[in-house]
Amino acid sequence: MDFRDSPAEAEFRGRLRSWLAQYNPGLPASSTDDEYWARQAEWHTALYDAGFFGLSWPARFGGHDLPTVFDVILDEEIATAGAPPRPSLGYLVQGISSHGNEAIKDRFLPGLISGRDRWCQGFSEPDAGSDLASLRTTATRAGGEYVINGHEIWTSYSDVADWCILLARTEPDVAKHKGLSAFAVPMRQPGIEQRPLRMINGITTEFGQVLFDGARVPAANMIGEPGEGWRIAMTIVSHEREPGELGYVARYAKTVKELEHAVRAGPADFRSDQREAVAWARVQTEMLRLHVCRRLSERLEGVEHGPGGSIDKLLMTWVEQTVGSAALAVSGSNAVVDADDVALKVYLYSRAQSVMGGTSQIQKNIIATRILGLPAG
């Protein structure tokens, strides 16, 4: 057991730290600001071009073939520098790598990893949320293409995406889990209408609705085999639940650092319960950092796609919501007298974490039956 940097890790950390000190993306301080997310693409490209993104992914696709634990260093240094978190794409890379054929991987992974192409994920519909397999979006074969009709919702960053990894029903007459296929759908075409949604904290650049009305996708863009969509979706969502794939530790640590900074600037202005709320947020964030160290270490000999991500997702949710509550506590009454209060936005944004990527209730069902071995209800 060793939490220390190896010589290669220390060298990487030093190089990354100097680069972060020099390269100031000049982004707003908060992840709850539209501009912060709007400029993610710029940050993605900057990180990638400097050689600091896609660390554990194959060099063949633009990654660096480094051991998984290098992502821990990336998140730690990003948090220390107060920079934005790394783009959260690991789960799409895992999905495409695990199920796509060689042509699909060669064609799509380099652009996804480099940030040259932007992606979104179309898995949710107005009537298919937790019950993902009931989705009704259809992909109907027409010659060398499929024609897409349906309505996706909660599609993050759909309005700026070049591609959508879309789950659609290709075989309407088989059992609901079996008739689904996954596609890489080009987003800039007629037949696609974007309808952005405003989140409860006011930001408008994240949530989207996408209407597919006769949009077209070449059959060669199918990821995996026809009918393999459910398995692909399960691979993707299992990794979408992992803080190690998402890089969120950096985001939480950055917020906690800002809260600590605020309290240290005038300790007498804060009651002991406010200080302890910040200390608890620090404990939670540190727990998640160390949990990711453990999970990524467990992957040094290869990635497994299992139910463990549901545990990590719940832990991550508790951390995000503890940090959000601490922000609210530190802000005090400012969060109610000022609608633009940043802490209020951090807090409100944190409530989404127990829904996105599968609700906490769904995670608990998975943990109970697939990890604890309790009988299905």
């Binding site: 057991m1 002991s272 200390a279 990890i371 071995g373």
Partner: protein, 348 residues
Amino acid sequence: MDTRDTPEQAELRRSARQLARELGPATVADLDDAPRRERLAAAVRDAGWLELRDDAGDGTPLASGVEAAIVADALGGAAADVAFAGRVLAADLARRAGVSDRAGAVVAFSAAIVDAAIEPGAETARAMYAVDVDEALDSAYVLAPDGAEYRLARVRSRGAPGASGGSDLTRAIRVFPPGSVVHPAETGGLLTGDDLAAWSALGLAITSADLVGVMRGVLDVTAAYATERRQYGVPVGSFQAVQHLLAEARCLMEGSLSVALHAAWAVDNLSPLEARSAGRVAKAYSARAARTVCETAVQVHGGIGNAWECVAHVYLRRALLSSRWFGDDSFQLRELSRERLEVADGLS
């Protein structure tokens, strides 16, 4: 970075868990089985676990904080009624002080069971509590002030040794009443603030690891019960209301394991103050988690969970002592907020 166990650590983890499972109490009635308890004590002694933090001959311990935590985790997991942590912590403190005579020693703590410091004088002003004792003992280590630092001393009660007891049914506590006699140690040097911080780091790491074990052990028992106990014609574990409680408990255990592993590693690999902070993080998280997990276990057992014969309260009681020892979650949060928030800005 590779936070996995080395092959030797993995083997220790496996064998310690096996031993604790085989010789620990499977039921509340087993707590009264003296021959079993003696077999368990002998096995722990023969495994050399009580000497893990003894002097290897060059001032360093025989084994690292990680090995000590692995054993603590295993013993907590079986609610093993055997002295371990008390002896290991005493040996660690004696080694740091350079005191050689330490056979069977334990440390006596002040009432908060956070530190072992006494006031100056030839006898104690307050009661002192020796935690995790396994046999009749007539003395324990305490820390006698010497300027700004401390020396190891022994405290001895005037009459018969204080009554044993405490709420934990698996680890005994002995009381040295006020007026107990203080004997300065004949050998050994001063213990600095760094020595005591490093020692606290070990105490925090071991008690956190014990709590992780307690959570794992009580969850295993409770998940098995929820599978077997039937109501409305089905196992109670098939109801989402019950499943969700247990799923949350499992997450709390996993998060605690992640912080406790780091705290154990930190004991011998970070500076004393950093190691103690790592211990505080681990303890704050795992003490809060263990309370919830053990309360969940009592709840999921239903009526029988509130009966003395159900093993769930044995784990809950053990968690209460391990949480308090070296400071509970509230204590650690106060200390962490002092460390991080009441100093000039400039921390990372």
